[in-house]
Amino acid sequence: MKGTHANLSKDFITGSDKTDWHNNALWFLRAKRDIQRDTIEDWEKLRSTAAAIKDHTLSRLPEYLQTFEENAVKNGMQVHWAWDDKELREITAKILKDNNARSVVKSKSMLTEECGLNPYLEQEGFEVVDTDLGERIVQLRKEHPSHIVVPAIHLKKEEVSDTFHEKMNTEKGNASPDYLASVAREALRKDFMKADAAITGVNFGVAEAGAVVVCTNEGNADMGVHSKKTVIHCMGMEKLVPGYDELAVFTRLLARSATGQPVTVFTSHYRKPRPETTEHIIIVNNKRTDIFADPEFRQAMRCIRCGACMNTCPVYRRSGGHSYHHTVPGPIGSVLAPFYGKEKNKDLPFASTLCGSCNNVCPVKIDLAGLLYRWRQKLTDETSSDMSKKIGMEVGSKILKSRKKYDLAGSVFRWVPKGLLQSGLNPWNVHLPDGRKGRVFPEVPKESFRQWYKKNQEDS
């Protein structure tokens, strides 16, 4: 299979010089996260409190969703419910049409990425401009975000410079981030002025207040929300927290876990629309009821999309977000992806060493490694098999179940010529693209421990 994580990551590692740079860029975020962790006396308790709040909220999700809707409506918001991605797209397009909006400024929303909103709106004749700088960069390049918090983390500034030169006529070869960001600022100002409507994602929905909370560093969500007469907030239904007390826990955790900031620069709470403005909230399911229904996997709905699991993941850091071929990459992405297509995403739960570092940074303590392990069991059952792997495992398990077969296999193993074990026929041995060896098989000792033990016992 061509588009698997194994192949795509190999391309990233051997086909580009980006791996070390990408690894370090993400590790930088992990290191900043560690520094923030150390500023909080009760960090581990904060995490377990957050997990307990999410579990509580999920255990009463139907009530909280209704409370949220009631309060939001009282505040003057219009609330819609979307069963799936298609319905989110259609509701959004209808709101835009009803309000005669043709162009839209949109702040970062992994949910709308997940639901394919941009391509649909463009196809329907709307103009959509992503206003988060990172998302704008990938949008101009017709790519997808490679990370849920830092969408353009896979790109070097020279690549951004080339894209901007091509699309926005910036100076050729000028790759100064200050320069590029200032040009983007000017261009986006014009987009904000021109747009008829604003769309945002949602970080938290506060049930008791009927408010949605959006966190950004750039202020781009607010530039749209406060200047447009038509505003749409797209919210995954797992984003709810009961009230302000609980929100406090999450605003303490989110940015610290995500980028190692004490809080995002802007934490905006939208409760009531401005006069003469219509403000909509679309509550989106899109498979979340399936995740919810699975008692093992429900905890994945605690996720607050901070990206900490990606920043720490030794595999993600070296393989790049696009190697995961799913909207959300990294450990949490691999946990969610099979819900959106088991067959096409069956490789993702295997794109991990199960090292467990993600579990330890997760602010809501999702057992990511444990869930990846569970998926592996389910997917080998429920999807088509890699026959060579399956047969290998079957033979292996038969040998390892019987002492007779094991002893025999051990002796045969010792007869295998060294040249064969050290050859390319042994998948353990890896050659690097420059022809050098990457990994070789160990020297096989003359006797096994069991053989030595038996001999030793006979001797004594």
Partner: protein, 242 residues
Amino acid sequence: MTVGLFVPCYIDQLYPKVGKDTLEILEKTGCNVVFLQDPLCCGQPMANSGYEKMTSGFEKPFLKALPEVDYLVTPSASCSYHLSHHLLKPLVSAEELAKVKELTEFLHDVAGIDKLKASFPHKVGLHLSCHGLRGLDLGTPSELKVPYYSKIEKVLSAVEGLDLVVPPKADECCGFGGSFAVFESAVSVKMGSDKMCGMAEAEVEYVAATDMSCLMHLEGVFRAGDSPMRVMHIAELLNSEE
């Protein structure tokens, strides 16, 4: 105290010295050591590949051995983790399960290191294997805010002359990951090679760990890269007399 020694399949076949050293260390601590002939494998290679169900039957020799020993000790954190968290977990009581100990854990928590006499006057870099660190809590993982402790370092204090180095990112995964090493070989080898660079920067002669599986992968990467560094299991350090 009767200790059942479980020598996992790959250590048995490829690293018999680690089995011998473990046996001798356990004997030195004064335990009555019984080598468990029947358990061959904890089932982890299949289970981590999604074929847990193929390992039904693997539990039998362990279930038979457990009641006959005070502890079941193995020189592999990942096997110990798999036994206690997967294979045997649904089948035995918590007390029985607690008998399953990784070697360092056993020496630290149960047997003590007073009777161990070892010396190894070399600079050794510690690789903190994931399952031992994050699975069996052998020390503080770098992600958590908990008071620093390290059972491994405490146990290795029994080795005279040892210049133990814990380099930055010592607890970053080496890239082995079972069948991951083969099916995701590009990332796996890259991780191993980064570990090699980190250890080389720390200027160590040897790299030690609780898990021979990590070390088998690292050894393969070291040798392929013509690195002079060699790998050593914790048991080999604890049983060396140089």
